[in-house]
Symmetry: C2
Subunit: 234 residues, 2 copies
């Protein structure tokens, strides 16, 4: 049974929505602490979030942003704000649907089901810039092609993706790949990093693994090559 979280401040509307969803055989979670909604939702990890925009506190946009940045949980915006601006903003933030209240139950349910269907098998997909990575099989999707990464390369890429733009130490990488900090074989890690780099280049990823000498590694976007950089003379 699919689990749906409802984020809506009007108690009456919330109740009505929950009722509709329950009748349609969904497991419903009502979120009322709007300040911490983002965290709570990430922790709860429902199959879909039904989100109002006019909320006390941070507001629906912020929640949407948080959810969409973190992963690929579908967000269904249902609001009374019918400004085109709001719709565009929500969609740009990655919302999967935007409907205005009042809304017939049939339409709501049909669109909801649609989105859930679209997300089938996506729960374990990590989003990168321009690609997707399956956390279980380490299948990498990029530009309409897919490649299976060897397990070690997959684990490394996974770490880099879940802690984007952060510096990651060798110890942490070893821990992620071999599950232990005890015997850190720097060389084995090194070889696997080299292999991952090569794979990334071959499949055409724009990201590169940057080395921070003495500290660790970081995943960053490839700088555009510049023809006017001065070079040391030979």
């Amino acid at each position: 049974m699919k689990r749906i979280a409802v984020v809506e401040d009007d108690a009456l509307v919330r109740e009505e929505l929950s009722e509709i969803l329950r009748r349609a055989n969904y497991e419903v979670y009502e979120i009322c602490e709007f300040e911490k909604a983002g965290e709570r939702l990430l922790e709860l990890s429902p199959d879909l979030v039904l989100l109002d925009l006019n909320l006390p506190g941070a507001g629906g946009f912020e929640i949407c942003r948080i959810l969409k940045q973190a992963g690929s949980m579908p967000v269904f915006v249902l609001t009374s704000r019918d400004q085109m601006q709001d719709e565009l903003r929500a969609l740009k933030l990655g919302a999967d649907e935007y409907l205005t209240k009042p809304c017939r139950a049939e339409r709501l349910l049909a669109r909801l089901e649609n989105i859930l269907k679209r997300y089938e098998g996506r729960r374990n997909l990590l989003e990168g810039e321009g690609f997707l990575l399956d956390r279980q099989t380490y299948t990498l999707y990029i530009d309409d092609t897919s490649v299976i990464l060897p397990k070690n390369q997959g684990k490394l890429l996974e770490v880099f993706l879940t802690r984007r733009d952060q510096l990651i130490t060798k110890e942490e990488l070893c821990l992620a790949v071999w599950g232990t900090t005890e015997f850190i074989d720097e060389n084995a890690l090194q070889v696997n990093l080299t292999r991952l780099k090569k794979t990334m280049a071959v499949v055409g990823m724009r990201q590169r693994i940057e080395t921070v000498r003495g500290e660790g590694y970081r995943l960053g976007l490839q700088q555009q090559a510049c023809a006017y950089v001065s070079r040391p003379q030979p």
Copy 2:
């Protein structure tokens, strides 16, 4: 550059849509033979289909059905029919979006982009009942888990999925797996079929491979076990 096919009989509207899309940097294909639209679209295989419902001939619903049955090409319905019935029907058929004309260009483009984003990496995904199969890597998605099938098992399952409910001869299966009808090693095929069956059972697929003695094989849904079936006495 993403390729979009526009299926719309009103030449004026068609031109306008095309213009909007071209400005947004899409490659646009206009489809005018509405009778053969289904085939044409499958052959063209654009990244998205923008579909009107009021078409001469078979009509938009039929085209939608054909596209959605064949694979996972996103279908964006844009129509002047604003009956709730139509919307529900289109969505049930698997349409990814349903908007009514007239529609502001910004909204159209925002929703369109949204869908394209959702379909990233999905182009090679074959839909089965309750699971998905990646044609390139033979990664199988089922119930929020994913498994990589060995190449031969993947090829076999692929054949069964692309010719659903049809009987498939051993020759055809051999052709699909080894690319030749010359040396049909019945035994090798047999072994691989056994392995696929086992995998399917292990991951919990509801489909089973049925044997048609002397003819070939067919993929069918597992019958629900019935407690009241009479059994031969021991």
